[in-house]
């Protein structure tokens, strides 16, 4: 839109809002969030409380991620927003539009061109590089929450590194089902210290957190917590020597691009319940199908 990045497809839906500060939040609030982010980067995996604001979108719909994005966006950033891996799911469209309207930043659907990627439930298949920041929307930031409902208790457990219950829970899964029965929001240890909830990404995406060149930021708006995984940080999924961590694999290939390595969504295509599998990461799928074609503008 403003021609800062000619490769980035811009899609200003509606005019730029004039009544609000750049990227909606006032500068004091952004500064407060950035201070929190600095702390989060300095203590990888530690949940930093922050004075989360009410956003004009409902809690649970990405307000945490949006506040972090608002705090880090600059005028020359190129923003990509995905939900379930896709750029064109309604909530991704809505959030991308929000920043196009309030910040006037260029937006893109192409992973390699984005400088800031806000995501819900996925990490893009295309490997990220060091000039990129991935912002996760987090519903429940506390990995111990479903074992211990009290925040006072869980903060103490983190302080003491008291994570035995977590392994007991995983062990009970194995004893009962023969497998660890956690398939998403699979807990990880960050930098050999804090156990962290990677947000509800499928465990398929967990290995992408490890030694990632891109900065990973996590924002939970309702719970008013933010945390981070700095570039090139060790992120290890919890497991046991005799039950090593493993990711999901499909016997099928993507019906569109034929990929056998990406995370596949299952679609039921007729009344008889026939199934097809397609890439959840729509941009990755598109890139494999049209590697040389210039990108079309979304929403045209």
């Amino acid at each position: 839109m403003n021609g800062l990045n000619p490769n980035a497809a811009s899609q200003a839906a509606g005019a730029l809002e004039s009544g609000y500060n750049f990227a909606y939040l006032d500068e004091q609030t952004k500064r407060m969030i950035r201070r929190g982010l600095l702390k989060a980067v300095a203590v990888p995996g530690y949940q930093v409380p922050f004075g989360g604001r009410e956003m004009p979108l409902p809690y649970g719909w990405g307000t945490g991620g949006m506040q972090l994005s608002a705090a880090i966006l600059g005028a020359d950033d190129v923003l990509k927003v995905i939900d379930q891996g896709a750029d064109d799911t309604t909530n991704a469209v809505s959030i991308r539009r929000f920043f196009a309207r309030t910040a006037g930043v260029a937006t893109t659907t192409r992973t390699p061109e984005a400088t800031v990627i806000q995501t819900r439930h996925r990490i893009p298949e295309t490997p990220l590089h060091g000039e990129q920041i991935l912002v996760f929307q987090v519903p429940i930031p506390e990995p111990l929450r479903f074992i211990e409902p009290s925040e006072t208790e869980t903060r103490t457990m983190h302080a003491l590194g008291d994570y035995g219950v977590m392994h007991v829970k995983l062990y009970e899964d194995i004893a009962t089902f023969g497998h660890i029965a956690t398939s998403y929001a699979y807990p990880v240890t960050v930098d050999e210290r804090y156990v962290m909830d990677p947000s509800p990404i499928p465990k398929f995406d967990n290995p992408k957190l490890h030694m990632s060149p891109a900065l990973m930021l996590f924002g939970a708006g309702r719970e008013k917590r933010l945390y981070a995984v700095p570039p090139f940080t060790e992120v290890v999924s919890l497991d046991f020597a005799d039950h090593p961590f493993a990711v999901q694999r499909w016997e099928e290939n993507c019906a569109f691009c034929g990929s056998h390595d990406s995370y596949l969504d299952e679609l039921i295509v007729d009344d008889a319940g026939s199934k097809r599998f397609v890439c959840s990461d729509t941009d990755y799928c598109m890139q494999r199908r049209e590697p040389f074609e210039p990108q079309q503008e979304v929403g045209q």
Binding site: D26, E54, G60, D83, Q84, A86, R97, A185, S280
Partner: protein, 365 residues
């Protein structure tokens, strides 16, 4: 079929237009004005201002109109607007003894200085549908004595406190916390708790208060005093060094008197629970007062046994904007996580079926 599961910008735009159409209803009927909502639905406006934490009846009425009468949505609209406003400072504590009362009742004393003032209330109406309201018409005003003077109305609980029968509340000189700027940290101060409860959902507080009456953390409440009316708001700007009035706001204040048998070095005495809400909001103020008192269990070394006494449980779940948001987010697509669960369930079932099949074969053999 790929398109079917995706939404686009056009779908969103059209959804907004459909919503606007639903809100407007039949266009042959005159459109509701914001001023009509403000004047004729004052209790809805009061609730939206209280839980929206913003005293502005016009904006609250606008929010109600925009939300097509969905009060929680209206509260959310007002909150989202409020968060963009600058903060200039805190007011001085409201002096509710100087209220211009429209209603004042006490259930603990038959008569008291200033008297009981029933004022406008649903309390003694028979809940019979008034079919006369189906038609528009004149409504006769109340009979008033133009010469009547409001007597001084000291607070009922202060009278008890003067006798030493009620636990004294100590004024705090500490800076007023702002839970919309600093996240709650447990254990909380009473000021933070009252702030959270004042923004809390009326229905949730009502139910929790009710649960204490039914025995889940019982504390024997009496409605010591409920007063509704206009009170002046004063602020003391730093550069002035003296206080100036900002204007009047309508509030509802409720003080519950609760029995306390004493123990652990504290003499038997009454204790209090406090509720305050913008506008005419008696039910909210009473629910809040009950829950405030039950959350003081720790202060009086009472055993915490009911949900209404657990501060983390109450304060983390009383906000309806947070609750409505998180519940409604279940409408967002979750197919990536659901796919993970599908895969897991299939894997677990396959494993469970294998030994069963083996057993079946053994039986046949």
């Amino acid at each position: 079929m790929y398109v079917a599961v995706k939404g686009g910008e056009r779908a969103i735009d059209n959804a907004h237009l459909l919503l606007a159409k639903m809100r407007r209803g039949d266009t042959s009927i005159p459109e509701l004005t914001v001023e009509q909502v403000r004047q004729q639905m004052p209790l809805a406006v009061a609730r939206v201002m209280s839980e929206g934490s913003l005293y502005d009846s016009e904006l609250a009425a606008l929010a109600i109109k925009q939300a097509a009468g969905d009060l929680m949505e209206a509260i959310f609209l007002l909150r989202a607007y409020r968060t963009t406003l600058p903060r200039f400072g805190s007011s001085l504590p409201l002096d509710t003894t100087q209220m211009l009362l429209s209603r004042r009742i006490s259930a603990t004393f038959k008569d008291l200085p200033g008297g009981q003032l029933l004022g406008p209330t649903f309390d003694y109406t028979h809940r019979l549908l008034d079919f006369a309201l189906l038609a528009e018409g004149e409504h006769p005003g109340p009979q008033v004595d133009a010469t009547a003077q409001l007597e001084s109305c000291p607070r009922v609980l202060d009278l008890l406190a003067a006798e030493g029968l009620l636990a004294r509340e100590r004024p705090s000189a500490a800076e007023v916390p702002d839970m919309t700027r600093e996240p709650l940290d447990f254990p909380t101060s009473r000021a933070q708790r009252l702030q959270a409860l004042a923004r809390g959902d009326e229905g949730f507080l009502l139910a929790l208060g009710y649960s204490t009456q039914r025995g889940y953390g019982r504390n024997h409440p009496f409605a010591g005093e409920i007063r509704i009316g206009e009170v002046e708001v004063w602020i003391e700007p730093e550069e002035l060094g003296f206080a100036v009035p900002l204007g009047d706001i309508e509030i509802t204040e409720c003080e519950m008197v609760n029995q306390f048998v004493g123990g652990k070095g504290i003499e038997p005495q009454f204790t209090r629970g406090y509720g305050l809400a913008f506008g005419y909001a008696e039910r909210k103020a009473m629910g809040m007062a009950l829950v405030d008192r039950s959350l003081r269990a720790g202060e009086y070394a009472e055993e915490v046994e009911g949900p209404a006494q657990q501060e983390e449980f109450v304060l983390m779940h009383c906000d309806n904007v947070e609750a409505a948001g998180f519940v409604s987010h279940l409408k967002l697509p979750h197919y990536v996580d659901f796919q993970s669960e599908l895969e897991l369930i299939r894997k677990l079932r396959k494993q469970a079926e294998a030994p069963m099949q083996a057993a079946a074969q053994e039986n046949r053999a």
